[in-house]
Symmetry: D2
Subunit: 339 residues, 4 copies
């Protein structure tokens, strides 16, 4: 923590701050320059972070030096975390994991048909929503438990890992009973009680970045889950909200290398929710692979015209298969592989 | 809903869409222009909204005409909603309601002292956090139930309306037992299950705008609460996330007149979380009054240096009282009043 | 400047940086903490700012301590700058200056009629565009020199200060010959050559904030003009670009107190371009006065249906007069006044 | 253009609008629905675009249907434009063009050395700044004409196409005399007079996207150049300004497929200015190739510690060569190639 003083700060004000820092058990380093005095406190910042030094008289600015996250950081763990999703699928290593399926689970026949198609194309994880966060209270809210049962059934039948969103702290155990990977949606990235609940399970968690969250904010939310004892967290870049209106959200492709620098956790790209239009999905998915992501989560539907939600951004199986071919070629060119 | 067709759309494609619209029980109006054909469907849009018309062959674009919200809209209710908060305080009318108090409830003595000060200055609602949404799992998370008890005690003692945040769908009944107004924080604005739970109570709800949410998004979240049967919703503008870094968030002052045009619900301004620095709070609070808000929610602390959270943005009672004087003068100049 | 080293930085790397700092004639202060070593250089930062210390081996982060601007800063000049616009109008003092008129100058009769109306309501500065920055090459680009002549004629006739935009470094002398105040539009806020040209004149300059510019960026652009010898600069907040789509831009009302803290220059609010809709203009204008602005620039047109540009955001004279009444009341309530 | 009327719009108001539309020589299509009346005008929208229909009584909203650009659109030209840059280099076809070099031209020896390195690695275009848009008036502003001479000399010597920025409408002819491709920087994307000047030359123009500009805004700026008679325009995505602070700007990778859908013009990615940190540049560059860009522009410096500007984001030649190897592999995997 660097405390920058105002040019007119008095000796007494400087001493008041020094006393406070010492009272907290920390060591202040005072440097007097020609234009400013600064006080450096290069120890455990957490203690200072909760002290509102900005309001101390004479203080102009307080600048943190260390990152606020610990367990998720590269410093805590140098090597990439490889997370076992079960059924032989691991994420975070050389292999890029593809998760695919419908936005919403509609019925078991449709789910099974889509699952077969995506599996044939190389997807190893089946996605499908049972609890749906809909912006309108009048929209279809998902099949709930019944949908989870269908997902488990199809996943078991085809030997695919399953993933589905949990939206409510009360539903964590229910969803965990049915699926292999718990998904936290972007609107709940800072639903801290929900994070604590999934942190208390042993299930892998896919944590989607919030629309107004920086990569560091996402890592702080991941820290909630790791600090609860669950180290199986997969980050997910799905686009942030900007002024650009030709896409639903702006895919922040830089989040992939940034997260890789700051953290040991794997990161997945969701091109479907970022684009909002199926025609843009392939370019974004390929960009994700080239940027170094560890997996992708892609919406696929066999009859987008009839989809209960997000039809506009769903690929048909034929286009998905074609995209998989291109992604495999890129992965190979970069020394990685997809299935 | 306006369906804009591609220049090369075929007769068969146009008919396929017309058939779909009719199958949904709606009436299509086809207009053929020199550069494009468009199909207007000027009926209940909800039916169409869930149909992914964008993926129909030949469609270039689908443009909604009606707003997706109903109960919160000006069309549904022409007059401003006036909401009774109890203890003689009403919001949405000529009187501007000021809510003030500490960010976090720390202990009963401090809370009582701050409450007395803000009451003397003209605040009628006492704010104080018991469940705190903290970005770090290592930060103080609030006193919980114990804090709620303190808030009720002080509120009763001083005859002030009380407001506190509820973060978890499991805690709604607990918080509702202790406080007069339930607050939904910005990070939970799209925690739809939590919205449904507060919609099932009879308590007034203060709904804070999400950092990546438009005014219309906020109204859709309010619609969740109203559609659950609870019409006592107060909107709250508290800043959105932008690139500007001299404030914690960017107060979108336009949200006040925009919300007033679109909705009958009262709207409150939170200058403290928008600014993030106490020195900026008075200017933003005064701007809120001048722009036509129905209330303000302001953080006040008697010893900001010792505050458990948000010390940097808390006014000391003396500055708060001075601000209240200015706000009263502005309110009066505009034909409204504060206490 | 604070140079934060990586945990694994070697002694040799630290010395390499220290040598570089000393070679630049500056004094490094080294502080070794438990988790990091930092090097503080608390002297003239400009020298370091252009040295890419981030690429030196062992450096994790470089944090500036001082602001990059000088002449525009409060430290350079403690008191508010009061700028003389001529014809008895000064901006930056107790009096709030209102600038009003049509977006585009269309013909002399219309300009004269509008000017009379806004003058009667209390505006002292007449605005009108002769060179128009239009996003489409097919839109009307303004009357050019002919428009400037009309503006001068009407300004002289009515004794009003005149202001008009200059878009091209080649036109600065031309525009300066005809108007009292040169306006730099938001799209040219970082057209540095244009800034240098207006810095070389003696005319007051109204500098509009760019849509993607922070307040500090705006101050850096103002620094270009002051460093050229022209200290008569008026800042202008006119909205930034965000995801919110119910307004043309998001008025950053906090920019008013932020600019006042950082700089001695006066600041004006442009509610018309921020809102983009006349119905929202009064609320934003009143918020500007309450937040402490030194002036406003407002689009007024007597026949918005026929306006050559920006008709949708122009007030009719009757509404402008009514707004002026409210703004005067707010100004008075806060100890300032409008004409 | 779709004109949506208010629910309470009167017959007279509807007729007033219809009369206006007819007076403009257009044909209105009126559709009366259960909740709204809408008027469609599906002809040349330009005429209506400049008419402020929003201010007509009874109008709720005006929705454009057609894009405001013409010459740059896919409808105007179905096939991709291939632009000849001279010296055997063409952009827009199967081959991906790599432009590389220092941010600022510092001296001829350094430029020559860097140029040789990037040429050996496969770059065919040499970039180098002679006129530099610096946010601070106290920063080095570039060598000007002298720098252009060096660039021409090195380009000729090595047989490389040259590109350099022009910032001022007065300098267009000068820069055009020395370089093969004129660059318009992001801060000048809406400097419309500068666009007209480069539109009047026959030189290829690289147009960088503004930090607050949508893809459509960029296309409108390109339209200025094409409408001036110069069809040799290359678009450039270089990041937009968002709240994310771990990168200098947020690379909007979706801009690549979006621009390809809307326009026939080639598009280039600038990973250096988007990232702002050399360590992130390779991931973004590879993402650009995978997303389908036609070229890249990358900053390379042989001694970043000594660079006059942007040292932090410059690759050293060794890292650039390694990146080129990866980009070539990705291009090949997707059926394209780099040199």
């Amino acid at each position: 923590m660097i405390i920058v003083l105002r040019p007119e700060a008095t000796e007494a004000q400087v001493n008041h701050i020094i006393d406070k820092v010492k009272a907290l058990g920390l060591t202040p380093h005072v440097s007097k320059g020609s234009e400013r005095t600064i006080i450096g406190v290069i120890g455990p910042e957490d203690i200072l972070r909760v002290t509102p030094l900005e309001v101390f008289p004479g203080v102009e600015n307080v600048i943190p030096v260390l990152s606020p996250f610990r367990l998720v950081s590269r410093e805590f763990r140098k090597d990439d975390s490889v997370i076992d999703l079960g059924k032989g699928v691991k994420i975070g290593g050389k292999e890029i994991v593809v998760m695919a399926g419908p936005c919403t689970i509609e019925n078991i026949d449709s789910l099974y048909e889509i699952a077969k198609e995506v599996k044939n194309a190389g997807a190893t994880v089946l996605r499908g929503g049972a609890f749906k966060p809909r912006t309108s209270p009048y929209s279809f809210q998902g099949l709930g438990k019944e949908g989870l049962q269908m997902l488990r059934e199809v996943g078991t039948e085809l030997g695919m890992v399953t993933i589905s969103e949990v939206m409510d702290s009360r539903d964590v155990n229910l969803v965990a009973d049915y699926v292999d990977v718990l998904q936290i949606g972007c609107r709940n990235m800072q639903n801290f009680n929900l994070l604590k609940e999934v942190g208390a399970t042993k299930k892998p968690v896919l944590l989607k970045r919030g629309m107004a969250s920086t990569v560091k904010d996402m890592l702080m939310s991941a820290e909630y889950i790791l600090s609860g004892g669950n180290f199986s967290v997969i980050l997910c870049e799905r686009g942030i909200r900007t002024f650009e209106d030709s896409t639903r959200n702006t895919l922040d492709i830089s989040a992939v290398p940034v997260a890789k620098q700051l953290s040991h956790l794997p990161i997945v790209v969701d091109p479907s929710h970022a684009a909002g239009k199926w025609g843009l999905v392939p370019a974004l998915a390929k960009a994700g692979v080239a940027a170094g992501c560890d997996g992708l989560i892609i919406e696929v539907h066999n009859h987008p015209e009839e989809a209960a939600s997000d039809g506009a951004q769903s690929l048909i199986p034929e286009n998905f298969a074609s995209l998989m071919g291109e992604m495999k070629a890129i992965a190979k060119a970069l020394g990685r592989n997809i299935l």
